[in-house]
Amino acid sequence: MSIFRRLFGQKESSSAQAKNRLKLVLVHDRVDLSPGKMELLKDELIKVISKYVEIDSDGIDISLSRNNEQSQLVANIPLLEVRHK
């Protein structure tokens, strides 16, 4: 990281951006699931799960990740508890 970037607390270096963007795009490429399709998947998932339990749709986080040679779809779906209504 250059001196200026360090002094003025600028954003991450362009090589770090490149690496992060590449990691993300390759996770999608490798399983052939584009970010656009992920959105569709998320919407359908919300519909299906909502049939059974009430969910906090603002707090939903669905992402693809990769570790140990295995790609995985990680969904964090917060549920609304009846008692809090």
């Binding site: 990281m1 250059s2 362009s14 090589s15 770090a16 490149a18 963007r21 590449l22 795009v25 490798r30």
Partner: protein, 264 residues
Amino acid sequence: MSATVITITSGKGGVGKTTTTANLSAALAAQGKKVVAIDADIGLRNLDVVMGLENRIVYDLVDVVEGTCRLRQAMIKDKRLQDLYLIPAAQSRDKTSVTPGDMIELTNQMRDEFDYILIDSPAGIEQGFKNAVAPADRVLVVTTPEVSAVRDADRIIGLIEAEEKGPGDLVVNRLRMDMVRRGDMLDTSDVIDILAINLIGVVPDDENIIVSTNQGRPVVMSNGSTAGQAFRNIASRLNGQNVPFIELKEESSFIKKISNFFRA
């Protein structure tokens, strides 16, 4: 002799496949091996000009496959080295003029006579790539430290595995240490981290490559360039030698340091 067939590929165009093929062929020949380089980029031939043999083409790869000439007639001998030959691509035909089966048959005819058969693959993932990879015993994937080239390399590695040609070995080409140090270029370790395959060589960005291509004389044929040394090292590694990676340094002129300071 039983030749090892090595295909040089990349997915993305313009990352240095042809330069790599020309230099590794010449370096292996300079190390006493008998080598033939095949240009599989039918319709866009260039290995001939990079090697400086363009004026001696009579017959080409498609002529051999179609039986217009004998195999030997299409092999151009490079007079600068003991045992280096080129089979040029056809220029006025397309990739469908040759099949993967043709390439396997062609290389099998040469396996007894040569130590190495190097195949320069065209860019892309279509038939030209499939032709080039079909006869391969090992595959070298060339990339540059840029997002587009690395992404395409990842795709190509997947296709090579699908063809059961192993994950291949990676050549990182055109690395600029000054930019890496500034944080403006992916480092070799980043690329390896992302692609997770074996690294066989790192070639620095070097003006000598342009000059040598202008002259039609692969850099490994002259001493003094870092890129040439990097290619010679890859050739040695292909030969099974354990050669340490050269430590690449940025050109350290005072003015460059000053300008880098302000550029960032």
